[in-house]
């Protein structure tokens, strides 16, 4: 029995090329499909049908939008930095696709007479590749905002960078929990290690932290502050149009698919069939091409949650958002990691009785409680020496500004708008930016 890495090492070049093309196509098709799905689902959640004109159920809507974008005028503001402005969409698109390379879509199969695994590469540092790609993607966002030479994009990109790196910490720490159990950074090893039990219930805290931070990491609602339409117009891509804009759009959706696929791999057993199915016929559903079905299904579960969140939750305020990342997710992850490491070490040390283990944990919990009591988040009361360091001459409204009551509403005799009418495709792109209907 060869390991996945050895199987893949035997791939001839043409097979690798086929896999590369398939992965690329998967990314693009998933993007087109996701845009459609998102608009349909959000539409249903808001009691309207969503796009339903182009193709069956409006399925070709996003393809039409994409083509239309290609025929829009390509504008480059005069103050923009030419080369960086040009490079930024490329920088954000490439790593998004690259992250797919280490995702295991399935176990070993026979493809065109070759025994291989449904995975492009199986690196011993697989998880790190994904983290690296997601970090590199930030460059695209930051540089696009910087190069546009316009205030909204600059603000959006700064926010975005701060947000992504903050949540990357939480994400990375939550993955440490997985590695502590699987003892490998290779994604296929992690899937194999989940044969006995999926990590989402073995490592619930890691799973929750990952699930939250993956939404933050991809700048999605309710954490979509960099793109906050109502505050920053469109965020970092305000000044982009045509295919450059399309690339940012593509990168965002591909990133969404990647983090969902990674969540599946790390916590939901990857391509493994869910429990009742996995018992059928000695696990026949875990072999051959079946696993792709389970994998894509689980990935879609996460993607649906993304849409669901967007349809349900209002956007967080920036300070609340950063507080959640730094003051909740990071410490929780750190404590959790130490707990897992401690239980691992205790259970692997010979000659430790259960009583001793319990005492050890009791002491640990007491120490934790003491620390928790020491850490109440209140301002040091005696800061009368405080001199404001930040703050410029610009007037800023206070965060707790009380809004005056709105005047009593008057009923207008106007006729109601026909609610069922869907906008024409050509008008959609404009609506994308203004109303957020285009799911950005």
């Amino acid at each position: 029995m060869k390991t996945t890495a050895e199987l893949i090492a035997d791939d001839p070049l043409w097979l690798s090329i086929i896999k590369v093309v398939a992965i690329f196509a998967f990314g693009v098709v998933m993007t087109l499909f996701m845009i459609w799905l998102e608009r349909r689902v959000v539409g249903r959640m808001q009691h309207r049908p969503g796009p339903n004109r182009v193709g069956p159920f409006g399925l070709l809507q996003s393809l039409a939008d994409g083509l239309k974008l290609a025929f829009k005028e390509d504008i480059r503001p005069v103050v923009a930095d030419k080369w960086v402005y040009f490079l930024a969409p490329i920088i954000s698109a490439i790593p998004a696709f690259l992250a797919f390379s280490v995702i295991p879509f399935g176990p070993d199969v026979t493809m065109f007479g070759h025994h291989t695994a449904l995975q492009l590469v199986d690196l011993p540092v697989g998880v790190l590749v994904i983290l690296a790609c997601s970090s590199l993607g930030v460059y695209g966002i930051v540089l696009s905002g910087w190069a546009s030479g316009s205030p909204y994009p600059l603000l959006g990109s700064l926010r975005s960078a701060a947000q992504v790196i903050s949540y990357e910490i939480a994400m990375g720490l939550s993955i440490v929990g997985v590695i502590l159990r699987s003892h490998s950074l290779s994604t296929s090893d992690i899937v194999n290690a989940q044969e006995g039990g999926w990590y989402f219930w073995l490592l619930p805290v890691s799973f929750v932290v990952y699930a939250i931070s993956m939404v933050g990491e991809t700048n999605r609602a309710p954490f979509d502050l960099p793109e906050a339409e109502s505050e920053l117009v469109g965020g970092f891509h305000t000044e982009y149009s045509s295919l450059k804009f399309a690339l940012f759009f593509l990168a965002e959706y591909v990133n969404m698919v990647v983090v969902s696929a990674l969540a599946t791999t790390l916590f939901l057993g990857g391509w493994r069939a869910p429990w009742p199915l996995s018992a059928i016929d000695g696990g026949v559903l875990n072999t051959g091409w079946w696993p792709i079905l389970w994998f894509v299904g689980k990935t879609f579960f996460f993607l649906f949650v993304f849409v669901w969140l967007r349809g349900t939750l209002p956007r967080l305020r920036y300070d609340q958002f950063m507080r959640l990342g730094w003051k909740v997710l990071v410490p929780v992850s750190l404590v959790w990691i130490v707990l897992i490491a401690a239980s691992n070490a205790l259970w692997n040390t010979p000659g430790v009785t259960t009583g001793q283990r319990l005492i050890f944990f009791g002491v640990g919990i007491v120490v934790l409680l003491v620390f928790a009591l020491l850490l109440p988040d209140k301002r040091v009361a005696d800061d009368e020496e405080f001199v404001p360091v930040t703050g410029s001459g610009y007037p800023l409204p206070p965060l707790d500004l009380s809004v005056p009551k709105s005047p009593p509403r008057r009923r207008l005799p106007a006729a109601p708008e026909p609610a069922e009418r869907e906008m024409e495709p050509a008008a959609v792109a404009a609506a994308d930016k203004e109303t957020g209907d285009g799911s950005l």
Partner: protein, 121 residues
Amino acid sequence: MLQAYVPLVLLFALAGAFALFSVAAAPYIGPRRYNKAKLDAYECGIEPSPQPIVGGGRMPVAYYLTAMLFILFDIEMVFLYPFAVSANALGMFGLVEIALFVATVGFAYAYVWRRGGLDWN
């Protein structure tokens, strides 16, 4: 060893070619109608406020702080990954070391927290 990375390079090339093509082709496919207002920075229709040179100007200090905290914790993560992989081999010794390490970073974290380094206002 490096052989394993060849497919990765292929994927990089394909994605890169696609992205480069999209960006490069856009000006030729789309129409071009000159309008000076179009080329200004977009500020919801008002006249653009005078800008420093691209990306210039000062950024709020909080962003630098976040960047530094990120580096701090990223390095902590970098140490945690190899530890996590070989945690069983290291046994109790590894546990004590990593607990000390996390505690040391924790002190700095507590300090930053109490001094308001994690607050945005």
